[in-house]
Amino acid sequence: MSVCLVTRFCQTSSILSQFKICIRKSQRYNSSYAVSRHRWIQSLSVLPGITFRRTSTQADKDSVDLSKFPADRIRNFCIIAHIDHGKSTLADRLLEMTGAIAKTEKNKQVLDKLQVERERGITVKAQTASLFYNYEGEQYLLNLIDTPGHVDFSYEVSRSLSACQGVLLIVDANQGVQAQTVANFYLAFEAQLSIIPVINKIDLKNADPGRVESQIEKVFDIPAEECIRISAKLGTNVEKVLQAVVERIPPPAGSIDEPFKALVFDSNFDHYRGVVANIAVFGGRVKKGDKMVSAHLRKTYEVNEVGLLRPDEFPTQKLFAGQVGYIIAGMKDVKEAQIGDTLFLQEQQVEALPGFKPAKPMVFAGMYPMDQSEYQGLRSAIERLTLNDSSVTVQKDSSLALGAGWRLGFLGLLHMEVFNQRLEQEYNASVIVTAPTVPYKAVLSSAKLIKEHGSEEITIVNPAQFPERSVVSEYLEPMVLGTILAPDAYTGKIMSLCLDRRGVQKNMVYIDDQRVMMKYLFPLNEIVVDFYDLLKSLSSGYASFDYENAGYEAADLIKMDLLLNGRPVEELTTIVHRERAYTMGKAMCERLKDSIPRQMFEIAVQAAVGNKVIARETIKAYRKNVLAKCYGGDITRKMKLLKKQAEGKKKMRRIGNVDVPKDAFINVLKRKEK
């Protein structure tokens, strides 16, 4: 109960912005406060006429009538950027300048609401904020859609872009164009959006905006004059950004006179009100009480509430063509608000807008409760978390050593780590995550098996179910096209790393006299776990990396087992390329040796393909392990240490007679630096 209150609380964390700071402090502990606030919000929305009683900002004092904002007074835009280039800081400034939030020192990553986002300094979930801006005496409604930066969440970016007509492309004045700048640019470019390049952090000592402008010119073919040089941190030239949004981004098409038509570009689940769908209105208007239909399921709903996101939910009377906001219509399941779905009014059917392809999970891992008694609790935590993250796929799984659990599919490793962290932080769940794997495919040759599976080609997300070579005509592995940007001093090292990961170079260009952009075709499994970490460390943090999926290619794959004292550990089975089996097997044995604490007996760690052992490491037995001196004064210290070890013992998984720490299952795939 308290968990959902907290979640609920986070979502609506401030109506009265002057309460913001104290609310944030009390988020985790004060659930009774959350209850009373919640009731207040509910009563607010049912009382007509007081929906705009916000006290802190200029716009709120006026009674906002959204009908005063025809499409040509509306601009919908995104901010896209490489990680850490200052996207969230610019968003904070824009919110402050337009009065959406009070201007204080404490506005940091206002749109990043999740604990994991704040801790890691990343954006995971796209957020929307409607801003009122006065330009040349006219009031404009600017809808800012904040987007995640990491490649794992690029599907969120493309969804957000669909609701926009333009983007602010932020580039760090010091770091210049990076891999995700390139990836995000192409997403916007392909969506045919207006692109406003913004060079941020010009206040930094090493800032070189001139150089960044020429990179932008060279890589994106955008004239240097179009760049706006700003410091989001200090607020320098941020006003110019707002002006450019009005001047350079076209207003949304669509007219109030057309039938209502809206695109669902995101959705959240609220435990009290059901699904809250974020929509971009492409035509007509919608208000409370309207009967609305979802094009996908053909189900009819009555609209309970519409409003703006400022960035918190802000109920309004109506939403009009060109506007971006939210809608609550009694949908009980996130699946009812399919992202990419089209909404229209019951009496005025329209043609559905082109939707999105559903996000495809590219990394799979087993997830198991620490203790089987926690199974039910973990199940409900996963269910609740996936309500707000429909890109995670869940399927039941079980293993001999770990018991009943699930096999989950994620968009990438960061996505998986974030999900795991949210489980632990927001639901207090303790889980074992097994080594991640990518979705391989096998083309079956046996007619019997084809019949069994109902198709010739099958996808394998669990290495334990990898079909034998004898029944398969061909194995396929997922490929990605990677973009790497780095100073040319590191080119040699990067090329040998890529070669080591079976990368094939497709292209290499200098974006200025020092920086190189390389394109490589990689098997996904080669880059999924630790490629980025290694790339970062061998380039002293200067290289950046992004990738996009590039289909499947045939590959000579084999299943490799790992054995502890001769006993195969199903959870550690991996699929490897035949050529890499030996090095991978050796590396995995080494990692496992480092992860498993020494025990009283010798432990043989082996990698095997079929019956053939291809690598072996030995964890030596303790020959002596006892504290020499233990008298009166030594007890306290010794007890502390032993109790900690006893606690650790409870958290280990037993495989045969070997105690294995839970992080060993994922560490085993991380390759050591050479």
């Binding site: 025990q599 009283m600 007996f601 303790y622 020959r623 002596k624 392990n625 006892v626 504290l627 020499a628 001196k629 233990c630 008298y631 009166g632 004064g633 007890i635 306290t636 010794k638 007890m639 032993l642 109790k643 070890q645 006893a646 606690e647 650790g648 013992k649 409870k650 037993r654 007679n657």
Partner: protein
């Protein structure tokens, strides 16, 4: 305060008298109640120099504070004895620091204080740690007269090179002389401490040294593997690569060899690091491992006792203030320098009983366990666990009619066994509490 050389003799006579009048030692020992008796540890914090391996609570004094220290030790002894309300002190141990630097009158003064408040039998073991320097040797007779009846001599090594690298201030020759003198005074009640696993030490040189030691030692030997402690000079030297320590295989061999050799010479191993023949086990140290009460007096001393005098009924883990000058001030102001008191819950106490008891070759007898845990016997707590079964089958652990103990091999691996036993004990308690929420596990 009386400070004459004849006092200790007088005191011993008086003590004999008192012990006859008050309680007989046998009567005292037979009392089953754990709170009736305790052993006493007295910490003398001063040293002449810092040994390179030692991280113990010791201070190199700038000025002589021996008199004040003695007064305060007496005062704190008095206070804590009152607090504990024990009627019998079963043994006294003067440790340090370097207690043999103290004046022998300090020993008699503290013993006198004890005798005034509780019975201290003439037979009770009174051990003094001795640094085998010529000065230490000279004073042994006086210490003996003052009431010490057992000497524990910090020989550490019979190789002068080792002694120098350890930063000790004695030579092997001086050590041998000190042993001889101590044996003359207290035959059968002299212990020698030696260390193995010293920098650059080989198994052969250790074995040779041990044979030499066996020709001169008395009936008690403590063997300690040198442990690297953070913050010591030796630790830094090893970290920086200046000094290399023997590998684990080598120290394991040294340990096993020593156990066998000592066994051949009639020594019985009774604890991880302690060996005795002719029933010369250290009573004082045994009482720690048997989970008995002890009172710690002096800077940084630890204690475990029930402060009945304050109306508390649970055992407390108590620590005295570490720094001698601060401790002195506190004792002068409040009568004691107790800095930290932690009440031990039922489970905490059982955990200590387990961890300490398993260090003994006899382990934990059923009777011993029942004293602390009458609700649940050893078989019930440990017998059903799969992990414990593995240890039993693996031959590291023995659980039988006598009780729970390590095998010969298991003892050297005790720290790998204990986490399993502790986890089992904790888990068992959780299960019991789930099953019977009303179960009174706390005292």
């Amino acid at each position: 305060m009386i400070r004459s050389t004849c006092f200790p003799v007088l005191f011993r006579v008086l003590r004999r008298f008192f012990s006859e009048v008050r309680t007989d030692v046998r009567e005292c020992a037979s009392k089953p109640d754990l709170t009736q008796e305790a052993s006493l540890y007295v910490h003398w914090p001063y040293c002449l120099r810092r040994c390179s391996y030692c991280n113990f609570n010791k201070y190199i004094p700038k000025e002589n504070k021996d008199n004040i220290m003695t007064e305060c030790l007496q005062r704190e002894t008095e206070t804590l004895l009152q607090l504990s309300q024990v009627s019998c002190i079963t043994s006294v141990f003067f440790g340090g620091g370097t207690p043999s630097l103290a004046d022998p009158s300090t020993i008699s003064a503290v013993l006198e204080t004890v005798s005034k408040q509780a019975s201290l039998s003439d037979q009770a073991e009174v051990t003094l740690e001795v640094n085998p320097t010529p000065a230490g040797k000279m004073k042994l007779e006086e210490f003996h007269l003052a009431g010490a009846n057992r000497f524990s001599i910090g020989v550490q090594s019979l190789r002068d090179k080792d002694l120098r690298s350890l930063g000790r201030d004695h030579s092997s020759h001086e050590a041998l002389q000190t042993i001889e003198e101590a044996r003359r005074l207290c035959p059968g009640r002299v212990s020698v401490d030696v260390m193995f696993g010293l920098p650059k030490q080989t198994a052969e040189s250790w074995e040779k040294q041990l044979s030499e030691l066996l020709t001169v030692c008395d009936d008690h030997v403590s063997l300690y593997q040198l442990t690297l402690e953070r913050g010591t000079q030796l630790f830094k030297q090893v970290q920086s690569g200046g000094v290399s320590m023997p590998a684990e295989e080598v120290t394991a061999e040294m340990y096993q060899h020593a156990r066998e050799t000592l066994h051949q010479h009639g020594f019985v191993q009774y604890e991880v690091s302690n060996f005795a023949r002719n029933n010369s086990e250290s009573r004082h140290n045994l009482s720690y491992w048997r989970g008995k009460q002890y009172i710690g007096v002096g800077p940084g001393a630890h204690g475990r006792f029930v402060p009945l005098g304050e109306g508390v009924v649970a055992r407390e883990a108590r620590t005295q203030t570490l720094e001698p000058d601060v401790w002195i001030r506190e004792v002068q102001q409040m009568g004691h320098g107790t800095r930290r008191r932690i009440q031990l819950g039922r489970l905490d106490l059982l955990e200590e009983v387990l961890v300490m008891g398993m260090r003994m070759t006899d382990g934990i007898s059923h009777k011993h366990w029942e004293l602390f845990c009458p609700q649940m016997n050893l078989h019930e707590v440990f017998g059903e666990s799969m992990r414990v079964q593995e240890l039993l089958l693996g031959g590291q652990l023995i659980l039988d009619d006598r009780g729970l103990r390590c095998s010969w091999n298991g003892l050297g691996l005790l720290d790998s066994i204990l986490p399993t036993l502790l986890a089992e004990l904790q888990g068992h308690r959780c299960r019991q509490l789930k099953k019977y929420p009303d179960l009174q596990w706390r005292l």
